[in-house]
Symmetry: C2
């Protein structure tokens, strides 16, 4: 793997911070891609900047695309983020086609930079019910990506796939992800998981994402530095 | 089809203008989506606005996403657009993962608006060699879209597909597209195909896209109002 370049989607959240550290340990030179899509939890963008700077990535691109005009999600609209821990099915924090869009941007960046590996922190265990965090989605996107691109066409002519997608957290529980991050030396103080942070950027402690994070640290028997 | 809403990708070029008219004739209420991605042929955005306004679409969303920071294409970078008509294979005007990105944006908008039909002007005949204008690409993206979304998951539970993709020009030649647009009453004066327009917005007449357009009008035995 030495010498290979990967594009890593880095949101500023806990999961993608672990993925970035994991890809670096695997020997990839990493390009971090962060999407500023008008999310109400804007503090995660600052976390992404700190994570990328600390990890000495080759490049950190923050791509802006305002999804507030699209709407359809509590994360980009005016609907309140649910805080009763009682959501079933796909929650209203789902953002329509978000991972398809983010992976499309990662794909274009990877092709333009000559990278052939793309990594993201999707997870199908504590995944809050999002359809675009399932293995079947990622497999399908991978097939699309290899048909969509110049690099994909050229590789197919030689009988192989151009682009490889890495989702190392896909089948891990939140406590397992946190333990893995701890082993990899991830500084969780530089990550933000909250969907609806307070004015000073600190987590609300009540949204689904805060609840899953807190339960994860408790199960992993570790202290969340954001909650000290 | 009456009463159904569709998202139509409208670039301001000739092909998508024909697709918009075609979808309206099919009875769809149309939402036009235009992507301002930092293309050098910025004049097409003004054409898209005029086309959408004239067609009385339900909504016209111009989504901005600057692909100049990504690069990898003569359409977003400083490399000159080729004008010798001699390109073979995939030309340098290819924009990495462009149609994957545009369809992702259309998909998110469609899901947020309750639309289940998405149309675009890709063409596999005079398609300039772009990989993301092939039928296999669109079929694969359709499968991905139906896995990626809440609407896709809910429809699958009832045994059908949520999203349907329309590419009515896929197997038409350029003269056929122009004749179809003429039948549908498309005002070609409101469209721009040139990759590298002059300062006043008029076409260069020499890039691949201008050459294909000129040959198409000649074969269709029609006069291009942009060239008067």
């Amino acid at each position: 793997m030495a010498g290979r370049t990967a594009v890593v989607l880095v949101s500023g959240g806990l999961d993608s911070a672990v993925v970035l550290a994991w890809m670096q340990r695997e020997g990839f030179e990493c390009i971090a891609l962060t999407i500023d899509y008008g999310q109400r939890h804007h503090v995660e963008l600052e976390c992404a900047r700190r994570l990328a700077a600390h990890a000495s990535v080759r490049e950190h691109l923050v791509q802006q695309i305002d999804l507030r005009a699209v709407g359809g999600s509590a994360l980009t609209g005016s609907d309140p983020v649910p805080k009763d821990g009682a959501s079933h099915g796909i929650p209203i924090t789902y953002v329509p086609a978000r991972n398809t869009l983010f992976l499309s941007l990662a794909l274009g960046l990877a092709e333009a930079r000559g990278a052939r590996d793309i990594a993201l922190g999707i997870n199908a265990v504590d995944y809050s019910g999002y359809p675009d965090c399932r293995p079947a989605f990622l497999e399908s996107f991978s097939a699309t990506a290899n048909l969509a691109t110049r690099a994909g066409v050229e590789a197919a002519q030689q009988g192989h796939l151009a682009f490889h997608f890495h989702a190392p957290l896909l089948n891990l529980s939140k406590p397992q992800i946190i333990r893995l991050g701890d082993e990899l030396g991830v500084d969780f103080a530089r990550t933000s998981s909250c969907y609806d942070p307070l004015h000073d950027g600190s987590p609300c402690g009540q949204c689904d994402s805060c609840r899953i994070r807190a339960a994860g640290f408790a199960s992993a028997d570790l202290v969340d530095p954001r909650m000290r």
